[in-house]
Amino acid sequence: MILLLGPAGLLLLVVFAAPLLHYAWLSYHADSVVTGLEPVLNHGANWIRLLQDQRFWQDATQTLRFALVSVGVELLLALAIALLLDQRWRGRGAVRAIALIPWALPTTVMALGWRWIFNTPYGPLDQLAHALGWPSLNLLASPAITWIATVVGDVWKTTPFAALILLAGLQTIPGDLYEALRLEGGSSWVCFRRITLPLLRPYLALALLFRLAQAFGVFDLIQVMTGGGPASSTESLALYAYLNAMRFLDFGYSATVVSGSFLLLLGLCLGGWLLSLGLSRPQRQQEV
């Protein structure tokens, strides 16, 4: 039986474990133009540099902020959309298909679109503000606000994906559960609280995990929309790792940034998992 797991296991090993191990190995080496692009063991100097690298920690905070806020907003919106699309109404099929369009667009293309929409003073948003007599919004030029603009871009693009997962979850819930509760006089809100939400929890967790990991590795959206600016206020860890490798040709340190980000993400997921365990335990007892 265990042999049957072989091919899948091998695939995981080659596709996931091997690159991670390679980066971990490379993070203990200097590998840049200074060393002639050859790895030279430097005994953890990269890691010491990483711990002292203010920019790494600033980027880590910014990436975490971006991931948590955008995934949080996405899940709320996705739940609302999934509930809507789960109801029976005329034209639902068409709307379901249309709702997926943002997800189907290439990120780079829509990031260019957002850059245009948020453009000051020629973008439509700024034109609207102008027509209303407001001052220019400067959404992409202010370190305090620009990250929110990137969150908007991300939410718009990825909400359909989360909605799709939640919709699939909703459709696994048997309708007679609702009927039974209704017979006992349960309102819609009670139905939602007592049936929908608990039964949807594994799907919420799945969407959360997928999206959190994805948002934590955000690159293309930021690269195109802001290039990490202004004042590096939107730079993500992936962007920093990319800069080190492709621009600075410092592959050793880039591998350290990647490995460091991986450890942070691992910690984040572990934390989330423990949290979800703590949340679901009392619920299980109730069900029994």
């Binding site: 840049s32 133009v33 200074v34 002639g36 692009l37 540099r49 453009n119 000051t120 003073p121 020629y122 220019s136 400067n138 992409l140 030029a141 202010s142 370190p143 620009t146 802001t226 290039g227 990490g228 600016g229 202004p230 004042a231 590096s232 800069l243 492709m246 621009r247 600075f248 040709l249 410092d250």
Partner: protein
């Protein structure tokens, strides 16, 4: 078998023989050594050189086949593509159209082939003086300039008679024009956190009498009073409303858009913008002049040099054929064609005095003058790093996160840290 043979008709035999003959002759033609040369260029250059490539292939039929690979549009995306292929070894490209700032890095990575056997001192002497710098490392030539480019100050001839020469003049004129309601903004430039910002600041810092980084003396000049004054001046432009606040997210297209719409009196941009401003849709068509960047009196007016040039990659299997193609593409005739069709600023000195070209494009003498003021960015393999940390603190200073002095102090310290950690000098 025999029955099949017996069924062969004479016409079938004839057709078969013909087919064999044709196939054989094709193999014979292909067996003659045609060397293929592949050059990677950013998309606009690849498109612009198409007619030249066609002519080259006609002239060298059967000997060299030149292909130009159409790369991405953005400068850094081209570098990423080239570097990826070089890192994997066995690059499909024989040559690369390179930005001037990449040369030291590529040479340090040992990716480029010396060009001295093909481009000697007499070829160098035919180049305009401003484009000679930045192509050699330790007196070995690695890049042959094809298109010159330098920072220019665009101004509106319908608003003023003479362009400002000093930063103070630019501010005074802008304020006056804005107060009179003749133009919403005084000056638009590239303030986004990216390479263009480093270009803006390099020429301005020199115009204020300072410097950025001198690799030969390993001196960082960012925390000197002159450099701080230059950055403080840029911040002042924003805080006083001479430049829009959004300028801190402007790259070249945004600045051009604003100036082209008639919304600004001055713009900092590269030579390509001239042709764009003369398009039918432009609100300032025929009302634009160019000059060099403002500088304090007594300090040098400076233009950041931003040229493109051809470099041969080490992996090239056909260096001789590649050099032939490079020589053809950078010949005076080719440069003339590129200037006429796409406005690409030539690198050959003789073209700046070509009466035919001057008649067609009146800004050529000004471009030549600007080229005389051109200055390359710091020539070091660590350029990408030191430019990146500068952009970071510049952006923070321009958006009011920190003062110009704080920002330049930090940028200076960070630059020195990079040089130290890489084993460079300070």
């Amino acid at each position: 078998m025999t029955s099949a043979l017996r069924r062969l008709q004479p016409w079938m035999v004839a057709a078969l023989t013909m087919a064999l003959l044709v196939a054989g002759s094709m193999v014979w033609v292909q067996a003659r050594p045609t060397e293929s040369v592949n050059i990677l260029m950013p998309a606009p250059f690849a498109d612009a050189t198409q007619p030249l490539v066609k002519r080259f292939n006609q002239e060298h039929r059967g000997r060299i086949r030149l292909t130009v690979t159409r790369g991405p549009l953005e400068t850094e995306a081209i570098s990423d593509l080239a570097i990826s292929s070089l890192l994997l070894g066995d690059t499909p490209f024989d040559a690369l159209l390179m930005d001037i700032t990449w040369v030291p890095k590529y040479v340090a990575a040992d990716w480029l082939q010396p060009l001295d056997p093909w481009f000697g001192p007499e070829a160098m002497a035919a180049l305009a003086e401003g484009v000679r710098a930045g192509n050699s490392i330790n007196d070995v030539l690695y890049r042959w300039p094809l298109v010159a480019s330098m920072g220019l100050l665009y101004w509106r001839t319908d608003l003023i008679d003479q362009p400002p020469r000093t930063p103070q003049e630019l501010v005074t004129i802008s304020r006056q024009l804005q107060a009179d309601g003749r133009v919403p903004w005084g000056y638009v430039w590239e303030g986004r956190q990216y390479e263009g910002l480093s270009c803006v600041v390099l020429e301005l810092v020199h115009g204020f009498g300072g410097f950025w980084f001198q690799p030969d003396q390993a001196a960082v000049g960012l925390n000197q009073p002159q450099a701080i004054a230059a950055v403080a001046w840029l911040r002042q432009l924003i805080s006083e409303g001479i430049s829009p606040e959004a300028v801190t997210n402007y790259a070249e297209p945004e600045a051009l858009q604003s100036f082209k719409a008639g919304d600004a009196a001055f713009m900092r941009n590269w030579p390509y913008a001239w042709a764009e401003l003369q398009q039918p849709g432009s609100a300032v068509r025929g009302r634009v002049g160019i000059t060099t960047m403002v500088a304090n009196s007594g300090d040098p007016s400076t233009a950041t040099l931003g040229s493109w040039g051809l470099s041969m990659l080490r992996g090239s299997a056909h260096p001789e054929a590649t050099a032939t193609a490079m020589r053809f593409l950078s010949s005076t005739e080719s440069q003339k064609a590129l200037f006429l069709s796409h406005g690409y600023t030539p690198t050959a000195a003789s073209l700046y005095r070509d009466p035919e070209l001057i008649a067609l494009n009146p800004i050529l003498p000004q471009l030549e003058e600007a080229l005389e003021h051109a200055l390359p960015r710091p020539e070091t393999p660590l350029y990408a790093q030191i430019s990146d940390v500068l952009q970071r603190d510049l952006s923070a200073s321009l958006t009011g996160q920190q003062s110009a002095a704080q920002g330049m102090e930090r940028a200076s310290a960070n630059t020195e840290a990079i040089l130290r950690s890489a084993g460079g000098t300070p």
